[in-house]
Amino acid sequence: MTVLPPETARRFLPSVDRLENAMRAARRSLDRGDLEGALREDDVAIQLKPEYDAAWLLRGHIFRKDGNVPGAIEAFAQALKINGESQEGWLGLASSLHAVGRYPEEIEAYDRLLQIQPRSLEAWIDKGAALHDIGDYRGAIACYDKVLAMRPEHAPAWSNKGAALLRLGDDAGAARSFDEALQLDPDFFDAMANRVLLCRKLNRHGETVLWADRALRVREAPWLWYVKGEAHLGLGESTLAMKAFERSLALDPKSKEAKAGLRRAKAARQKGDVYRGVYECFGTHAAGDPGCEGCEILGRCRLVTP
């Protein structure tokens, strides 16, 4: 190895090739999941060029993947000191701040990014979600409206707007928003789950079961099984309620609510159990509907429909 005299060493500039090779190796290691290797190569890049924003961004991603959120925050902040206009930097910093619950700072990060890039959909959506988390639902809705003005077909923005409206007590507005989201993306889990919560709030057990079933076909979640169990109980379907609580407990064995629900379902079964047969719409009777007119369990359905 050649040792450069101190004066020359000060003037020495690292080879661009070496720097790029180190970065490339770090990215490859990160893609492979070799976080230690990625960090080692990234260190080399930072040593060669300490003011290299891409290397600091990469370091932030490595730390985030490794669960070292404070380290990630520091790395993204360093990248932003070098290049304050990096969207990747601001989004990385904001999501790291979100991970440790520092919402006001997260919102500030989105604001800074939106000053630079006022049309960044990601920033608007994430800012809305952060405002939702701190309870500023009107602020969140304003953010989603910004997104929808730019991209009216943005299903997550509709779903999030519905969730904020639901929190504000505007059930009809929320229902409209979820309808829009599901029209645009019929398999959108979040919109279906939000709809389940809306139906549950309105005590529409039939619809709660219907939408919970649809959402569970996309993705399982213990809380969804629990809500479904409760709705079955509301419809008098003890066996189906038991099955739902059991599934919820299988996914989350520590759930006290599910355990209590299962107990209630077992007790209800002693008194009676409704059988819905092939009618997945049980509990959603609509007068004048041709499907309802020919229904074999019409009388019972009418009784449990609000």
């Binding site: 969207q87 092939v278 009777h285 041709p290 499907g291 229904c295």
Partner: protein, 372 residues
């Protein structure tokens, strides 16, 4: 059975929905909205998924093409990945289309560093768009260092060198390209054009001869060869070659014009006028009509010549040669004397214009050739 479309499901009445359920083997019982949802879910899951869905990168590329480079730029930025050069190249194109030439060159440079094979050529285009032809040629050199046989890179380098004024250098590059790609006849034609532009008429004629030997149906090469021979003073040969070119493509206005000029140089005003009239019919260019005016004037068809000059002035009102021609042929007493006096000079100018008009055909032929 074939699946109904989602629109059909959406708008089907109850009876049709029942029929659909029956045909698809679905449960037909329940509230109509739920049955409709059931059928729609089935159709969506069973229906052929779209074979292609535009990704962000596709949308960005499309936005650049349809004239929204600012939106494309934003979209490209959102597709940036840690190790993919493609978005950098796309971003460069959007910046180029938006007029941000320096930024575009930087983006292409970044794509090239990440291993995008054609990025240096794109950078060359960005530099050339900013008028830096020497830099563009240097970028082509970088590209050719890794892909020395790349014909596109060679032709782009030739074009940039020519535009930078290094015509001899361009001819050299073309000569070496012909050795590398003997199968590409357009290279010989491009070399001929480059030599013609740098006033090496004999050499140009030879190169174009080689091009026509490689591709005997190349009317463009034959027409430019005719012009080169004419400029080299080999008028008789030029006439033969131009006639051959016109046999291949009788509609070539440049070849007809040059043939007219060649006939005039041989003192044959009648066939010269016929050729130029045919050329003017095919392409109403002031240069061709001026040549026609001069030939008609030389053939003593003064009314027709005056008409030709008028036509030139309609197309280009300030054309000095057109104005001079009209003045010469003006029917006043004084003008008569001056016309007599100017008849000799007219002859002289006709000859001098003949020489000048010879430079026109290569200009007409230039856009048709590869690499220019």
């Amino acid at each position: 059975m074939s699946l109904p479309s989602l629109a059909e499901v959406e708008h089907a009445d109850w009876t049709s929905l029942q029929r659909m359920c029956e045909n698809l083997g679905l449960n037909p019982k329940g509230r109509s909205a739920v049955v409709r949802m059931r059928v729609a879910d089935f159709v969506r899951r069973r229906g052929q998924p779209p074979t292609w869905r535009p990704a962000k990168a596709h949308q960005a590329a499309l936005l650049t093409r349809i004239g929204h480079p600012d939106l494309a730029e934003r979209l490209w930025e959102s597709t940036m990945q840690l190790d993919a050069p493609g978005p950098w190249a796309g971003l460069g194109h959007a910046q180029l289309a938006g007029g941000f030439l320096a930024e575009a060159a930087k983006s292409f440079s970044r794509a090239a560093q990440m291993g995008e094979p054609g990025a240096e050529l794109h950078r060359a285009e960005a530099l050339a768009a900013g008028g830096n032809f020497a830099g563009a040629a240097a970028a082509c050199d970088v590209h050719l260092a890794s892909q020395p046989r790349d014909l596109r890179g060679i032709l782009m380098k030739v074009s940039f060198l020519t535009r930078a004024g290094f015509e001899d250098e361009a001819a050299k590059v073309l000569r070496s390209a012909i050795d590398l790609h003997p199968e590409a006849p357009e290279l010989a034609r491009s070399l001929g054009l480059a030599l013609l532009r740098s006033d090496h008429h004999e050499a140009a004629a030879d190169a174009l001869h080689a091009a026509t030997q490689r591709d005997s149906k190349d009317a463009s090469a034959a027409a430019v060869r005719g012009a080169a021979l004419l400029l080299a003073g080999r008028t008789r040969e030029a006439i033969g070659v131009l006639r051959e070119a016109l046999e291949l493509d009788p509609e070539r206005a440049d070849a007809l014009n040059n043939l007219g000029v060649a006939y005039l140089a041989m003192g044959q005003t009648k066939p010269a006028a016929v050729s130029l009239e045919r050329a003017a019919k095919r392409f109403e260019s002031p240069r061709i009509i001026l040549n026609l005016g001069k030939v008609l004037e030389a053939a003593n068809r003064k009314t027709e010549a005056a008409g030709a000059y008028e036509q030139v002035l309609r197309l280009r009102p300030k054309d000095s040669e057109g104005r001079a021609g009209r003045k010469r042929l003006a029917p006043s007493g004084k003008a008569k004397r001056s016309r007599k006096a100017s008849a000799k000079s007219a002859k002289k100018t006709t000859l001098s214009r003949r020489t000048r008009s010879k430079s026109t055909p290569p200009k007409t032929a230039a856009p048709e050739t590869a690499g220019t």
